[in-house]
């Protein structure tokens, strides 16, 4: 079974800080991590390989430093890594990104299964999985939280719905997007991480020419949507930071809550 896992390196948005005076983002020192849903995709792929044999390829698009995400994926058990990196890919919306990833997958050639995280925490769009599947002309199932059975021609998976779930049979090759409920990702293996950093590690870096795309079809130029304005979310609150020792602040707070009859 040949499995391709789509991996994205993202800023850890839970760590984002705001300047208390200006309310602006403080961008320095934000860690980059593998997108949480993608860790579950990697774990699922590595488990399937252990059961059915075959190989796992981690595929990522990003700046050169996204190589760290590929190394971590290989530490978790991916056999090969491919990083799509080119200035021309920058500023891509999901239309251009799904095209780039789709072209890269066509360059890889055949596969049985593609697994991706449901969504990335920096964009939260959940669009790339289904878009890549449609580009490749294979069926997809999203919000997968259980992979029951995988055979050469078809598999049975469970897809999460708001009020329950559905059991879906799907022909292969296919694409799945998975959610955290699916499994508990393993920690990368230290020996594997070291191997992934060796010069001979099976990691490829592909640019636009390597996957046979014109620069006008990728990145910002190839995008159909554009950001035309960004602004800080407005807050109407008059925030008050309570001063004093822990005890004093708590007393002030309780006084305020009593005033409005909340306790």
């Amino acid at each position: 079974m040949k499995i391709i896992v789509l991996v994205k390196q993202v800023p850890d948005t839970a760590e984002v800080k705001l300047d208390p005076k200006t309310g602006n983002l403080i961008r320095e020192g934000i860690k980059s991590i593998i997108n949480p849903d993608d860790l579950h995709a990697l774990e699922a792929a590595v488990q399937l390989k252990a059961r059915l044999g075959g190989k796992v390829i981690a595929l990522s698009m990003g700046p050169p430093q996204a190589i760290d995400a590929i190394s971590e994926a290989m530490g978790m058990g991916a056999d090969e890594g491919i990083l799509l990196s080119d200035r021309a890919f920058a500023g891509a919306d999901t239309w251009a990104t799904s095209f780039t990833l789709g072209q890269a997958i066509n360059t890889i050639g055949t596969y049985d299964l593609i697994i991706a995280g449901r969504q990335a925490i920096d964009g939260d769009t959940a669009q790339i999985g289904p878009q890549v599947a449609d580009f490749l002309g294979v069926p997809h199932v999203s919000y997968v939280f259980d992979i029951e059975d995988v055979k050469k021609e078809a598999m049975v998976v469970k897809r999460r719905l708001e009020d329950g779930f559905e059991r879906v049979q799907c022909t292969l090759p296919a694409l799945l997007t998975v959610i955290g409920e699916l499994n508990t990702p393993r920690y990368p293996d230290v020996a594997g991480l070291i191997d992934a950093c060796r010069e001979k590690a099976p990691i490829k870096a592909w640019n636009a020419a390597d996957i046979g795309v014109h620069t006008k079809d990728v990145g910002l130029e190839g995008s159909l949507t554009q950001v035309i304005k960004t602004f800080a979310p407005k807050s109407q609150k008059q925030s008050e930071i309570l001063e004093g020792t822990a005890k004093e602040t708590v007393n002030t707070l309780i006084g305020k809550l009593k005033e409005i009859n909340l306790i």
């Binding site: 993202v10 800023p11 948005t13 839970a14 984002v16 800080k17 705001l18 208390p20 983002l25 403080i26 961008r27 200035r87 021309a88 500023g91 239309w95 799904s98 925490i121 939260d124 959940a126 669009q127 999985g129 289904p130 878009q131 599947a133 449609d134 069926p139 199932v141 999203s142 919000y143 049975v156 897809r159 708001e162 009020d163 329950g164 779930f165 559905e166 049979q169 799907c170 022909t171 130029e221 159909l224 949507t225 554009q226 950001v227 035309i228 304005k229 960004t230 602004f231 979310p233 609150k237 925030s239 008050e240 930071i241 822990a246 005890k247 602040t249 708590v250 707070l253 309780i254 909340l262």
Partner: protein, 393 residues
């Protein structure tokens, strides 16, 4: 693509600084300067009034879309029942259509669902495009994509809105790829630009810590998804509309998926949306044991316990108690945020709280921007005192 500043043209207005989502523009003297970390996203190109921000990107021609008419919504039904978000979208569609002087339409797919057309018309649809087929009974990505593609190609709508449900978020991206259009997910605001007459789609971006307005100038229909509960329904009980049937032809082989079973799970007994007081924890709680103290506080204030995405992912609290963009939205009288930094995905879920109290060690945590009262301190020290004092009170 590369972006640079033509210094002779730059008048130092700083618009590009504010527009950059990545903090990659700074002032060098009184001129803007682009830093290494620029991702060439192009946000600064749009805002520069001096045309001082330049790029090597070929100028793009906006095609003529004057034949694209109509504001459409995808009418989502499950087992013959309309999802409320479809009715809400019809409310918004009426506003957008009025601004454009165009009509509202709903597109309804399913099997034996024609009765729902009436409801759609009574909530603002001038036209219902109806496709009924056995293969469309339950939602399946490929089947719905194929039929919608046919209807869109035949009717050429200008705008298509979908609910950001587990179905809408599955269908919209696949369909957008198929009909070769841009798509904006989870919009919180939709407007028509008065000059350009295009759909302005506003949503949280960059991890949700900023809001972004996105335009879709180069393809039609302009597609966007909207979370349930964001827009307001506008019933039009005496509205007259027509139903246009579309004949769908589908084979099981081309669909690829088969629904073996749909299982409804009884909602676990947590209804955070009705809670008057909520005590919620995030990364700062530290571990599962840390939630014990939150539980104690919840008990003395008569509140429910909840948490952030991180708290759920760490396994400290169950997923049905997650608050935020991927969890529940709540509106308690009092929300006590403990060790929560307050990424906007989380803030989005608590915006409608009457009062917010935040306890966090880090004065730079964004949660303090939305809190009525903030305590800067370690929750493990502050909460026990709070519990004691409330017991005494």
């Amino acid at each position: 693509m590369t972006v640079w500043i033509e210094v002779d043209l730059c008048n130092g207005c700083k618009r590009c600084l504010k527009a950059c989502p990545y903090g990659a523009v700074e002032m060098k003297g009184d001129k803007a300067h682009i830093l290494e970390r620029c991702t060439s996203c192009g946000a600064c190109l749009e805002v520069c009034k001096q045309k001082a921000v330049q790029s090597d990107m070929a100028p793009r021609v906006i095609p003529d879309f004057s034949d694209r008419q109509g504001v459409w919504i995808f009418a989502e039904q499950r087992e013959g029942t309309l999802h409320p978000v479809s009715i809400e979208l019809l409310g918004k569609a009426q506003d957008l259509a009025a601004d454009l002087d165009q009509e509202v339409a709903a597109v309804l797919l399913g099997y034996q669902v024609s009765g729902l057309s009436r409801t759609l018309i009574e909530h603002g649809a001038n036209t219902v495009y109806l496709a009924e087929h056995k293969a469309l009974k339950d939602y399946r990505s490929v089947a719905y994509t194929k039929v919608l593609e046919e209807v869109i190609k035949a009717e050429k709508p200008n705008i298509l809105l979908m609910g950001a449900t587990h179905i809408g978020r599955d269908l919209a991206p696949r369909l957008s790829r198929r009909v070769a259009v841009g798509l904006t997910a989870d919009c919180t605001e939709l407007n028509i630009d008065p000059k350009e007459k295009i759909l302005l789609q506003t949503r949280p971006a960059f991890g949700g810590n900023v809001m972004a307005t996105i335009a879709n100038r180069y393809s039609r229909p302009q597609m966007a998804s909207v979370r349930p509960g964001v827009m307001e329904a506008k019933p039009k009980p005496r509205n007259k509309g027509k139903v246009i049937k579309h004949k769908a032809s589908l084979t099981e082989k081309e669909i690829g998926t088969r629904i073996l079973e749909i299982v409804k799970e009884a909602k676990k007994a947590v209804n955070l949306s009705d809670a008057k007081v909520i005590v919620a924890g995030g990364r700062g709680v530290g571990d599962e044991g840390g939630f014990k103290i939150l539980n104690k506080l919840a008990a003395v204030v008569g509140g429910e316990i909840a948490g952030t995405r991180v708290a759920v992912e760490e396994g400290w609290i169950p997923v049905e108690r997650q608050i935020g963009q991927t969890g529940q939205s709540v509106h308690p009288e009092l929300y006590i945020a403990c060790g929560i930094s307050g990424a906007i995905q989380h803030r989005a879920g608590i915006m409608n709280s009457r009062y917010i109290v935040a306890v966090n060690r880090d004065p730079r945590a964004p949660i303090f921007q939305v809190a009525d009262w903030g305590i800067i301190g370690d929750l493990h020290e502050v909460l026990p005192i709070m519990i004691e004092q409330i017991k005494k009170a």
